[in-house]
Every structure is written in C-alpha cells, then in structure tokens.
Amino acid sequence: MRSSRPVLITLGLAVFGLILQATLFRRFTWLVPDLVVLVVILATLSLRAEVALVIGFLAGALFDVSLASSVLGLRALVYTVVAYLAVRTRQRADSGPLAVGIWAGLLSLVSVALVVVVGVLFGQSAELGDAMLRRFIEVPITNAVCAALLAIPVTRLLQSGGRRA
C-alpha cells in the first residue's frame, strides 16, 4: 500500500500557505505570492502524477471555499490544470533552483491567466478589476522567487515523509 503521508504533508502545506497568505502577506502589498498554487507546483516534483492532480484539485477547492466571492470550483479547476501542466513539464525543472523558479513562475502566470479567463466566463467580473495587471506581474514573479528558495526544502520534506512512512 502506498504511503499517504506526502499527500497529507502537501495538503497541510497548502492550508499553511493559505493561512500565511491571508494573514502575513495581506500586510505587504508589494509581496503577493499565490502560495497555494506554489505548493501544488512544487509538490509535482515529488508526487506521482495522479496524486499531484488530486492535490491540485483539493488545494484549489480549499481556496475556493475560503473565498466567499469566488465561484466554487474555479480554483479547483485551474489548479488541476496547472498540476497537469507541471507534471508534463517537471523534467525542465531538474537543472537547479533557477530553473525551478522560472518554471514555477511561468506556471503561476498560466494559473493567473486561467483564473481570469475561466472566472470571467463564469461571471466573476471582479477578476477583471484594476488589480488585474498587478496580479499578472506580481504573482508570477513572487512565486518564481519563492519557488527558487523553497523547492529544495519542500521536495526534501515530501520525500522524507514518503520514506518515513
């Protein structure tokens, strides 16, 4: 039977990221990561493809229910797609922290774009607000930097969780 510990650790990290984003990073308007999608992206480096997709769906659904203004399932869909793209391209992130940063930044950009496009299709016109351009620039850049810094610790944490179990 396969270990469920890395899955639980990843979901724990997603909840931690969501809480950190809602508390610490709301105080810094110049530092706006999307930590939940970052956890999803980094988790694909250690988890099996199917598990990573489920993690993407659950983490996105978690984010959706914490936002009263968002349609339920929007981020579940987007993070599942991002997890799929991450799984398909994860070999490109093998060459070091810089590569991981660029890879995660690009996937975060895809995530932001999908949230806007699918959100608008489902009546979330708030996604087209004044902050849309900032969202397109700041989230990918911040996520790229965070990914470069966090990729190794997160990967080790998930792999050690798998071994211990």
Partner: protein, 294 residues
C-alpha cells in the same frame, strides 16, 4: 489522463452547481463549515503575525518618521481649528434633529467591533473578521469602519467568524442621500470607484458633496457617511450621474464594526426606521439591484 479529465469535469460540475444555485444553502453550508475550520487558524496566525508585521513596518518607516512627525503636528493644529468649527456644527445638527425628530443612528442599535483577520486573495474583494453568529453577526448586516464610514456588508457567517464584502465590489447598489436628493450608489465590480445615479434630480452636484445612507435603504441604517462626490456634475434632464469616492479605506482596514441592522422586529429602532421611511418622498423603498446573481 483519466484522472485529469475526471477532476476537470468535477470542477466544472462544482462551478455550474454553484452558479446555478447562486449561493444556495448547500454551497453556503460548505463555505460556512470551511470557514469554521480555517478562520480559527487564521485568527491564531494573525495573533502571531501582526506584531511581527507591525515591527517590520515600524522599522522600515523609521527614516520618514521625522518628516511625518512634523506633518502630523501641522495636521493636529489644523484639526484643532476644524474641531472648534465642527462642535458648533454638531450643536446645530442636534437642534435640527430634535426639530425634525430624526435619529442618525440609535445608540441602542447593537454594534459589534471585530478584527480583520484575513484576506485570502490579496487581489480579492472580501475579508474575514473574527466575529460571527455567536456574537450576533448575520448575513446582510452592515459593516462600518471605526470612524463610522460605510465599508460593506456581511455575506457569509460561521459561529466565530464572518466574511465581509465592501460596497465597492458588491453587485447590490446602496440607496443614498446627497444634497437632499435620493439616489443609488452603483459599484463597478473590479474597480474601487462608485457612481451615484440620481434619476429625479432637482439640482446639480458639487465636488465635495457628502453622500450618506438614506432612510429608505434596506441594508444600511440612515445617515451613515459613505463618501463624497469627486467632481462637479450638471443636470442631464432630470438625471445625474456622479463619481463618488468612498471614505473608508477598505484595503487597509484592521478593525471594523458590524451593525445589527435591520433591528429585531418590535424594538424601538424598527419603529424609528418605519417612521423616517415615510418622510422621504419620491423613492421606491429600498436598495436596488443592478445586476443579477452574486
């Protein structure tokens, strides 16, 4: 691949159900349950994070403190002069209220101060407060900032927590009073600007005209300051459309006050609302909805 397709289909189903039910009881219960789990953790994190963030902000602001101090001293002097004038105005307002038998906000109306403990999406409109149904907070209750300026209303509640949406992002317009004329304050979702629409206008509006909630508003008690008109606007037939700046700084709020409104039937406040509603002529009797859904 089958897993991917299954999850994408599941997500689309979730979205469709949520949109079709338009925030029905099922999705509302799910959100409420999630909020009950997440909000205590957010509250705990806020207790740890806020002092650290305050310290960080204070350290980064040291260089500008001297200039800021001088500016504040000048501001204090100016405000003291203004206060003297305001006291005179307040006395006149009290006399006028007595004459017209009006009450701006009954002091007996329950007001619940709450801390803003989270904003899950930094670009999103909603924020979480640390008071909920256990404290008497209910969906639809108006929310103001510590100065009494209108912020928004409660859209989701859990036993110890609630989610608030600012009026700048709310699809429901607010019925307001400006310069003796009743109008609707319409938001542009995704933007912080508001537009005042007056359809039975009798005179032009000037920049700086005060916008307050009207007695015919269902969502807000009358007389709460909302914002000010930011440009001179002339009459177009009998209609006026004017830009309005919100007084409350919804992005940087740390503390808000939730007002128990409408008051429970049978209380003196409900009698006040009923009485004053009949006084304002030419109104339809409630907040208007500009777009469906939401």
């Amino acid at each position: 691949m089958p897993t991917f397709v299954t999850l994408v289909v599941a997500a689309f189903l979730l979205m469709t159900v949520d949109v079709r039910l338009a925030g029905g009881s099922v999705t509302s219960n799910i959100r409420s349950a999630a909020l009950s789990v997440l909000a205590p953790l957010q509250n705990l994190a806020a207790i740890v994070v806020d002092p650290v963030a305050d310290l960080g902000e204070a350290l980064t602001g040291l260089a500008t403190l001297r200039a800021e101090n001088q500016a504040l001293l000048a501001e204090v002097a100016r405000l003291q002069a203004e206060q003297a004038g305001a006291q005179d105005l307040q006395a006149r307002v009290e006399v006028l209220e007595q004459i017209n038998d009006l009450e701006i906000l009954d002091p007996d109306v329950a007001q619940t101060p709450a801390n803003v403990i989270g904003r899950p999406d930094p670009f999103g409109p909603t924020f979480v407060i640390d008071k909920g149904t256990d404290d008497g907070v209910a969906v639809g209750h108006p929310v103001v900032d510590p100065n009494g300026y209108v912020v928004g209303k409660v859209v989701e509640t859990a036993p110890g927590f609630a989610i608030v949406i600012p009026i700048t992002q709310d699809r429901e317009a607010v019925t307001v009073l400006v310069d003796g004329q009743v109008g609707s304050l319409v938001s542009h979702v995704g933007s912080d600007e508001l537009t005042l629409e007056v359809f039975d206008a009798i005179e032009a509006l000037q920049a700086g005209d005060l916008v307050v909630t009207s007695s015919v508003s269902v969502t807000f008690p009358q007389g709460l300051p909302v914002g000010e008109v930011t440009a001179d606007v002339d009459l177009e037939g009998t209609a006026i459309s004017a830009p309005v700046r919100l007084f409350a700084q919804t992005d940087t709020l740390r503390i808000v006050v939730v007002i128990t409104w409408p008051p429970e039937p049978g209380t003196p406040e409900s009698a006040v609302e009923t009485t004053t509603t009949a006084v304002i002529p030419g109104t339809s009797g409630g907040d208007t909805t500009t777009t469906g859904g939401g």
